[in-house]
Point group: C2
Chain length 319, copies 2
């Protein structure tokens, strides 16, 4: 059984950088990010009275988001999943945690750190758009929402924009963790060209460097790999296959596949005699280094606020 | 990175049971299946002259599809992925192969069997709708298309209709293979209630019975499981979560998940103290018994034509 999925573009003008029900500040000027320009969305004077005792170095959640967006050299996205999932822009930030998934465990660790702002790469509520209407009354959703609300934790998703940073912040985090940052080529950013390495050693290398216990792969462990296509996350079968068409890599390393797409394409590729392989790392661990990359990138931009990376880790065991 | 997916309904009236470019028979009466009624789509008199030497017991691909659809007690679907992916309805069938994926290997085995009609549960060309425009010129696509065309192999997808058979043919195949057919409850078909079984033994059982070398799971191996939610294939996070809301199972066994959906929901479920587990079998092997179920179901309906199941197997290794 497969449900029918269609890739659609992010061009619904009704979607704003913040959901309107989350923008509660009385003096918030309103309007879309693209109409106002990023810099004017959260003026420093706008924080609520309740938080002004936090001192002159304090920043609100909205000001931190503004700071991040000002440092991403793209026009504001008319539609994006990078919205607040909990909390409000006027909350004064007591500390930032970056992570892949704002799991219940990550939220608890954030509370212990006395931080109140989680920057997560992936959804909080189990679907890409973080739609919650269908989850009303669901015990897990209600538990997580209450945990966030009762502890005044804000969650913002940093997905579309971090991938649009030049270079892609997730990619640079992963390359650095793999020890491959010197192989980065801005003209062909998704390809790493290595000295010839047997697939077996390539698998060992990525597991060791990324702290992964087990990967799924398709290929011959003795195959020599030079051209590596690196696609952390789950960018979809069509994007994987189009990259392969363009770059003819020896191996594609990705985070996640739909099993009727990329893996079947690689299986048929090998059956026709072309020695092309696939390594599937697991989604969370394939991009977690990107959220570690956020710490040294963001820390100098928010003086006085501690930025901590907490890995949300792989949820799966193997048996 | 996640691409945005939306679940949409199968209600585009432009999609027919056969792609129009595949209906080449001169006397084919034309029109949609729902307008004509299934029985009239492929009258027995319609086979092409070239194939009439196959004898009085012969059936065309179109007649076999008609026979299958007549035995599924639902109104014709206005939109379906159950279309011909290769070949034409007027080809006289020399033998049927049922499988999960019409891989290059399965096609080669079909040729060796001197069969010419593959009935596959999942896509042939690496996307759910088997759209091929974006694959024109792709070496793997062209190789597979030529292999099919040069050997006069027809491929038809049997997905939406087999799941609508009463009971669902894939489900019954999987239950039978698991030795759980006596637990089937038509009032709650997705739930199996077993004697209390530790998760560890449940995992061993499904691996042994389905011939799976390794599964991914989330849970405590000592957890006692009674209520099993069984969802072969990849029906999507929302359907998994809604089933859990309705049925409160101890464990969900499914074929495939999107890793930002079901697995994160289960991870948070466990963090709030609810002992609910997840076993992810792998898509191909989770539904392959359904295509084995096709053989005894279809064979009596097509006398004189050999029906053979060929497992397409799991493409992945683990390291």
């Amino acid at each position: 059984m497969i449900y029918l999925y269609l890739v659609i573009e992010f061009h619904n003008p009704m979607r704003k950088i913040f959901r309107s029900d989350q923008v509660t500040r009385r003096d918030f000027v309103g309007g879309s990010l693209s109409a106002l320009g990023i810099a004017s969305v959260f003026p420093a004077s706008g924080r609520t009275q309740a938080f002004t005792s936090a001192g002159p170095q304090s920043l609100t959640v909205g000001e931190i988001i503004d700071t991040i967006l000002k440092n991403i050299p793209v026009d504001p996205l008319r539609e994006t999943v990078d919205t607040l999932k909990a909390g409000t822009p006027d909350m004064v930030c007591t500390g930032i945690v970056s992570t892949m998934f704002a799991t219940v465990e990550v939220i608890r660790k954030t509370i212990l750190l006395k931080s109140n702002f989680i920057i997560a790469h992936e959804p909080t509520f189990y679907n890409h758009l973080d739609e919650t209407g269908w989850l009303e009354g669901d015990k897990v959703y209600e538990f997580k929402k209450n945990l966030l609300n009762q502890n005044n934790i804000a969650v913002w998703r940093f997905h579309d924009y971090i991938h649009r940073h030049q270079p892609d912040g997730v990619r640079m985090g992963v390359l650095t963790k793999l020890g491959w940052e010197s192989y980065y080529d801005a003209n062909s950013p998704r390809i790493v060209t290595l000295p010839a390495t047997p697939l077996k050693y390539l698998i060992s290398h990525v597991k060791n460097k990324l702290g992964i216990s087990k990967v799924r792969y398709i290929g011959d462990q003795s195959q020599l790999c030079r051209r590596i296509a690196l696609m952390p996350g789950a960018s979809g079968g069509r994007s994987h296959i189009q990259l392969i068409q363009e770059e003819r890599p020896d191996v594609l390393i990705c985070g996640e596949v739909a099993e009727w797409e990329t893996s079947e394409y690689i299986r048929d590729t090998r059956s026709m005699g072309t020695p092309r392989s696939l390594i599937v790392l697991g989604h969370a661990q394939s991009e977690e280094p990107g959220m570690d990359w956020v710490v040294p990138w963001l820390q100098p931009k928010v003086p006085g606020i501690k930025v901590t990376h907490i890995a949300s880790d792989n949820p799966f065991s193997f048996s």
